[in-house]
């Protein structure tokens, strides 16, 4: 490609693994914390394990072109299974492990998977349930044997037995080992490397087909862009079915050869991150928000001295931290103050969250709040935004070092072209883009133009620096009844930037004014309640507390002021809102597995509440909705939801101001 140095000579992931075992040999390739201790595997170990698994899968009948589902948390052997499957020329299909049975059934059936490699009993049960529904799974292979010792279901085998069988075959039969080598050689760059199902916010998931060459190209392009080396440490904790994790914990792991660390359990991520101290981090904004919320909550409980020190040095950081990070001139006094702050506050804080060694940190998937973004950057963390999609094997635009603007997502990587079409939609083209949507030529045709451009589905513009700015989902941008622009996501993000607000859904398309649903953040609001003596028995009770409403009202007023200051969206004043009595939940289908709101579904489910928001006489509304518990059982939630009204004066004043 133009402007790009050559990528690796190896054109498939199994070949890259073979290369790594050769050139990195005894370097650590992967770690996992188990029984309280970090276990490590070198590249040589990993190659041996993957080959054994591949031979085992071959014994099981996995053959070129077969689809193999991978379901579970980030366990080393699941990553190895991906590679083992690729060795045989079969296609791994990582599936969101939290998906409820019907969702999973759709993906497994659509991908026509014949084997499922799963983490534990929970997933085995789920897949068995689906088997009854007629998916074509022949074998279920599990990693963790707990609770499965007595499982006599047909076709359920342990990954241990697969691996041991494979190893035995390879040791017994040199011919078989040679055969496996040839299978690896047979793979080529044009082969499909993985199918990743996007968790569609609107319709059924689509299977994005990525090729070896495309994914390797993208991984390599990002390596050059951020000068990544084999010394990086990465923590694998995001869903394996997400392109972000697939790129950072798998594709770049093999292309760059750094070390990937798997946490002990989902609940120990923060602690494990502290122990490992990753240098290269990729996380959706939520992760950064949570850490910040946690810090603030902790600080509320800290001693007076600590609080004062914390507040003072955060002030210093806010004033000059980002300038120092970007290498801009800063007064000597401030430099000294900042240095002192590093010792007393920033250092310990970063250490606490395992962020002290970060060289490059990315946030992606959603817009990050400018305050949160600046907060981390002012502490001296090189946090950057990127704009990516599964269809692009992540990379479309990245913020280059030293060119960070909180409201843009950076510029295209070398080799990637970006254009805005006449309707305002962002299009892109690169060697990394996907081949097609699996078994869905209609969707492929709708998304890919004949000359190789991909429609992103996002509305955006390119600013004076050449940076891309994303406004909203293309099809979500609406108009108020008076014709002014209504970008819901833009408004929702402003609301979500308050730690107390976990999620927001804004309405206004074709309406007279903007109204919204608010989801409170249980950690932040819970801590606030504890401090202020607000007693509550449940999420629902807390959400309905008048004092919580007052607090949210302040936040909404603040957002209204900010909106009023921007001519393009000044008309979008939030007039009325309500606090939902339950958290929007993926199990209820209200948000996707990556925590994006399914707008249409929410509209339908809460139609009476929306109606109430636009019924000016209505002050509260009774609702009854079904909820799904974590174990999959259903329940019913009943209650009265208050509607809050924002003072007219401000909104009108702001409007007038904007009109002038």
């Amino acid at each position: 490609m133009p402007g790009q140095s050559e990528g690796p000579a190896e054109d498939t992931f199994p070949k890259l693994l073979r290369r790594n075992a050769r050139i990195f040999a005894e370097r650590t390739a992967m770690r996992e914390k188990d029984l309280g201790i970090w276990q490590t595997w070198t590249w040589t170990d990993v190659l041996e394990r993957v080959c054994a698994l591949a031979a085992g899968f071959a014994e099981l009948g996995v053959a070129r072109g077969d689809r193999v589902a991978i379901i579970g948390d980030n366990r080393p052997r699941l990553y190895w299974s991906i590679c083992a499957v690729q060795m045989l020329g079969a296609i791994p299909v990582p599936v969101y492990q939290e998906a409820v049975a019907p969702e999973m059934a759709f993906v497994l059936r659509h991908a026509e998977a014949t084997v499922a490699v799963v983490e534990n009993q929970e997933q085995v049960d789920k897949v068995l349930e689906i088997l009854g529904a007629g998916a074509g799974i022949r074998h279920i292979v599990y990693d963790d044997a707990r609770g499965l010792k007595d499982c006599r279901e047909r076709g359920v085998v342990s990954l241990d037995s697969i691996e041991n069988a494979g190893r035995a075959v390879l040791q017994r039969d040199d011919g078989r080992a040679l055969w496996l080598e040839r299978e690896i050689d047979r793979g080529g760059g044009g082969d499909i490397s993985v199918i990743l199902y996007t968790s569609g916010t609107t319709d059924r998931p689509k299977g994005v087909v990525l090729t070896n060459s495309g994914t390797i190209w993208a991984a390599h392009a990002a390596k050059l862009f951020d000068r990544l080396t084999e010394d990086e440490e990465v923590l694998a904790y995001l869903p394996m079915a997400w392109i972000g994790d697939h790129m950072f914990s798998y594709a770049q792991w093999l292309v760059i050869g750094y070390c990937v660390n798997c946490p002990e359990s989902r609940d120990t991520v923060v602690e494990n991150r502290r122990e490992i101290g990753p240098t290269y981090v990729f996380a959706p904004p939520r992760v950064y928000e949570n850490l910040l919320t946690l810090t603030m909550v902790r600080m509320q409980d800290a001693s007076w001295l600590k609080r004062t020190m914390f507040a003072y040095f955060l002030g210093v950081a806010r004033r000059c931290g980002e300038a120092i990070l970007d290498g801009r001139p800063v007064a000597l006094v401030d430099r000294l103050r900042y240095r002192l702050g590093s010792i007393l506050v920033y250092g310990p804080l970063k250490g606490r969250y395992g962020l002290s060694r970060i060289r490059v940190g990315y946030t992606a998937g959603e817009a990050i709040g400018p305050e949160i973004f600046s907060f981390y950057r002012s502490l001296g963390l090189n946090l950057k935004q990127l704009y990516g999609q599964t269809e692009a094997a992540v990379y479309i635009t990245n913020q280059p070092d030293g060119e960070i603007f909180p409201d843009t997502v950076g510029r295209p990587l070398p080799g990637i072209e970006v254009r805005i079409d006449e309707t305002g939609e962002v299009h892109y083209r690169s060697p990394g883009i996907f081949r097609e949507y699996f078994n869905n030529s209609e969707a492929t045709a709708a998304s890919k133009t004949t000359d190789g451009w991909v429609r992103s589905g996002d509305a955006g513009l390119i600013d004076q620096h050449g940076h891309l700015k994303i406004i909203d989902r293309f099809k979500d941008v609406g108009r108020l009844a008076n014709g002014s622009l209504f970008p819901p996501k833009y408004i929702e993000n402003k609301l979500k930037f308050f730690p107390n607000i976990k999620e927001a859904v804004a309405f206004g398309d074709g309406r007279d004014y903007v109204a919204c649903f608010i989801n409170i953040d249980l950690i932040a609001v819970g801590s606030w309640a504890e401090r202020n003596g607000v007693v509550y028995g449940s999420y629902q009770e807390l959400a309905a507390d008048p004092r919580v409403y007052d607090m949210i009202k302040d936040h909404v007023a603040q957002v209204n002021r900010e909106l009023a200051a921007e001519p393009r969206v000044a008309a979008c004043q939030i007039r009325r809102f309500l606090v939902l009595p339950k958290e929007l939940d993926a199990d209820d289908g209200e948000v996707t597995r990556t925590s994006k709101v399914r707008r249409a579904f929410v509209c339908e489910r809460y139609a009476p509440l929306i109606e109430a928001l636009y019924d000016s006489g209505c002050r509260h509304r009774q609702i009854r909705i079904g909820v799904t518990f974590e174990d999959g059982r259903k329940g019913l939630l009943e209650g009265e939801v208050q509607i809050a009204e924002m003072p007219e004066g401000l909104a009108e004043g702001a409007l007038r101001e904007a009109a002038e």
């Binding site: 188990d34 029984l35 707990r146 609770g147 002990e264 359990s265 609940d267 120990t268 602690e271 518990f629």
Partner: protein, 256 residues
């Protein structure tokens, strides 16, 4: 399967003038899950206290592993493989989860006092061995994330789990659980049921439990003894107990 691990023989217990338990006998077989149920004030917790040696009966005796004790001391019960949890959680609130569970192994530590003092040689090896065992319990109960958290700060459901962990650390032959699911939400109850069943199935631990949730009791236990006002009114399999008229009258009928 059918070895008698423990037998309660014609036991009576009174505090002052109040007769708490009156002439009750039953046994616990190796490998079974035995439930003790009954309305409030039936003497269930007192029964567990008798078995673990915290109370001593005025009449009758406890037979543990074939040996008859008129006055069973807590330490003797503990050294003979009886471990328990409490209705109101008796954890070391100021210690971490790890230290709490480690404390359950206190009877298993034998290294020489001086070696312990300098943290050397056999004592060190012993400490590592115990830690490994405790880590397996932590893994089993899925509480890795609270390993280093002071238990006083944990929510109720997790405290119950830590307490179970400490009881398990003693590698008990007989595990006594006093309302292991009280105050838990549905999800926590299911987790706890799963742990109890796994324990029984994988390690063959004999379990005696007091529980109010009838669904849980019927699902888990192999045999049930029913107490009412300190007297035994029924003893048998869940089916037998469910069909027993006395039980329905005094307990099931009223409570449900």
């Amino acid at each position: 399967m059918s070895n008698r691990l423990l037998a309660v023989e014609r036991v009576s217990l009174a505090f002052g003038g109040v007769q708490v338990i009156r002439d009750v006998s039953f046994d616990i077989l190796e490998g079974e899950i035995r439930a003790i149920i009954g309305p409030n004030g039936a003497g269930k917790t007192s029964m567990l206290n008798l078995i673990s040696g915290l109370y001593h009966p005025q009449r009758g005796a406890i037979v543990l592993k074939g040996i008859r004790y008129d006055r069973l001391r807590p330490r003797v019960a503990a050294t003979n493989g009886v471990a328990r949890t409490f209705q109101n959680i008796a954890l070391f609130k100021g210690m971490t989860t790890l230290d709490n569970i480690m404390s359950g192994r206190i009877l298993k530590m034998h290294a020489n006092f001086l070696c312990q003092l300098v943290h050397y040689g056999p004592a060190r090896a012993e400490e590592i061995r115990h830690r490994q065992f405790v880590e397996k319990i932590i893994d089993f109960l899925e509480i890795q994330h609270i390993r280093k958290v002071v238990v006083g700060r944990l929510p109720y459901g997790l405290q119950k789990r830590v307490e179970l962990g400490r009881a398990l650390a003693a590698e008990p032959d007989l595990l006594l659980l006093d309302e292991p699911m009280a105050g838990m939400n549905l999800e926590e109850k299911e987790d706890m049921s799963r742990f109890i069943l796994d324990l029984n199935a994988q390690f063959g631990t004999t379990i005696a439990l007091i529980e109010h949730d009838m669904r849980v009791v019927m699902d888990l236990s192999s045999r049930i003894v029913v107490l009412d006002h300190g007297e035994k009114i029924a003893d048998g399999t869940p089916e037998q107990v469910r069909a027993n008229q006395a039980v329905i009258d005094s307990y099931l009928g009223v409570a449900r």
